[in-house]
Amino acid sequence: MSSSISSSDISRSDAAWGRCLAAFLGALGIGALLILVLMVLVDPYDSGQFGLLGIEGVVDQNATTADASRARDPRFDSAIFGNSTGQLLDPADLSPATGKHFVQLVAPGADPRGQLAILDFFIRHHPHIGALVVVTDELWCSHNPAPLPANLFPFWLYDGSKLDYARHLFSWRALDHAFQRITIGLGSRKRMAPDGFWSYEEVWPPGGKHPAVTTPPQQPPFAGQVSDVFPIETLLEGAIKKLPAEVAVVLLVPPTFFTIIPQPGSLAAAEHEACNKAFRSIVAGRPHSNFIDYRIDNALSRDPANFVDLIHYRAKIAQKIDQGVIASFAFGNAAKIDF
């Protein structure tokens, strides 16, 4: 008798613990399912992979993720790529002067592989491309083919794999973006500027932050040969070569404050010239295309008022670059560059 009571107690207890397990798994499973449904409906990064609700645009301060939405916007046929050193190039200057429709797709902090992923994404989403501007800083001239350490660029957002994309939507950040997109859909919030332009001079207004004027240490003379193999630059070459011949391309090396410009006759100068040569060869023969090296020692690059820090120039220089790009699209490598 007591034994049968005991075994029924045990089974009652097991059933109660079983309900606990069911409650745990149910809450976890239903919660996960709801999140998945929300993501499929909203597409938090507006990448075009999901998004049954058809909401357009994002509210995302992070250009690295916001670029997915802009890069597939059919209103634009032309784009600017690079990192923060290309951020002040203004589509509002380039578009009317060239007759094309430019979108800013720079990704601050991204290394060249990330920038190439955005370039590839843009190309895949535009059957007709007008023109491209690629801001190629020193990082493109690395001889090391290995990816940079701790590269946190969201390749999953640009590589086109639905599964990889979905896997990265299970996060607080994606949920936050989803709710922001819902507010855009409901009309209670405005999407960010579709052309992606934002000036860091809003944070560092002119007359404020600037680099210190120091005397750069004398770099030793160098008379040897440097390697002309630039693996990352080669990736860019491959991407540009795939484009139809009528797509105009301007590659430009952004200006830096004079203290970090390679001194003539030094190893750094030889490396810089070898890299420039490789850039030139990428656009050689392509109509309305050009390579411009703005990393030169002159009155503009010596004035600290023209820079926020050693590598980020101000609007005065950016306007000069915009003019150089516009001239290049008109006259190719015969363009007169005023810098």
Binding site: I10, S11, S13, D14, A16, W17, G18, R19, C20, L21, A22, A23, F24, L25, G26, A27, L28, G31, A32, I35, A150, L152, R167, H168, L169, F170, S171, W172, R173, A174, L175
Partner: protein, 460 residues
Amino acid sequence: MLFSDYPFLLVFLPAAIVIYRLADPHPRWRIAVLLLLSFVFYGYWNPPSVVLLAASIVMNWLAMLAYQRTKWPAVVTAMIVIDLLVLGVFKYANFFVYNLGVALDRPMPQLDIVLPLGISFFTFHHIMYLADLRRGKAPSCSLGRYALYIAFFPQAIAGPLARWSQVMHQFGRRVYSPGWQRQFCIGISFIAIGLFEKILLGDRIGRLLDPIYAQADRGQVLNGDSWLALVFNIQILFDFAGYSDIAIGLGLLFGVQLPFNFNAPFRSTSIQDFWQRWHMTLMLFLRDYVFHPLANARIVPRRFRLLQYFGAMLLTMTLCGLWHGASWSFVLWGILHGGALVGCSLWRRHGPRLPPLIGWALTVVFVLLTGVIFRAATLDAAWNVFCGLAIPPTLDRGKHLVPVVVVPLIAFLLPASQDIVARLTARPRPLLAGLLGIGMLALLLEIGDRELHEFIYFQF
């Protein structure tokens, strides 16, 4: 495969549970299936290292067989020496070569050696079994059961260092027998708490501390950041206690109760108390297999036995430091803790009784200060952190410093996780279980947000 990463939590673990559920009704399959799962888990990190693990298991098991047949203690001793040599080559060869170069004042080549994951832990598991075999305490066992003792995936990589007597008899038992639902609830609670400790407490502090220690490695630490660097020991507590709790929870899902590893160590009122609450399974190993043999060996005359006792204590802790890594900073850390244990022991014999609050404060300050030596890459880096303490801390980073205040308070005030789990699972409460499910979902979303910190103890 990290316990706190998606590949483990969303793929390996559910698959392992389903596969083992299918094997559970068949007694002959239970150990084999669990062993296979363990090798898959271990091989995911570096497939070739499975060969080393398997070879190590087979060699030690053959040594056990040879000892059973011959009863020659030398067989066991030789095997333990081989185990230690293998550990020494993988873990200390470069350290030895480097210091030899320094001593001879000539550069020596560094060997290209990859430290196999968990080698320190599985070597100690071998030693515990073989030493007890020689003492006549451990029984012989099948190759499968022995292999599972060494490779059981919840404990293989970073412990807890379970004795053979604690776990071996549990392998092969039926998991899905009456009461399994409760075991699962307890296991899941341990996993949830462990993930909380690791992701929300340990990693959060780690993100604040990593740049500070990187700066200390380069030079002076400015802005009073050294004061933040002091909380490293709290980070490692939640990192490793979190790992251990997940391991314990996983063990329960496969019918094995692993020993507890931490017992609220930052509530200790003396350094002796601390070492009875911190990484308890390692300390029990060191006590039984290093300290006791050293302290009880008839090496010195009777009147010097106390000196031998303290010497054994100091040497044990020095080896404990060296076990954590091939670096002089670990050795110094071990010596300091050994010295503190000797000092504490002498104080207990000859000094006045300290009020618990003062004992607690002294213990915490000592542990946090020596934690800097443990964490810093070099002694120079540790010195840079200590020099930086001359600059008072600045509070202008506001809310970013909240973890540095809140997380230590949790370490000081909350009971051990096993006590929390015992309270949570005292009786079945479906509502609480549902809330735990939502909490687990929140943790999974948190994992999706970030690149994970590897568990600190993986490097040991």
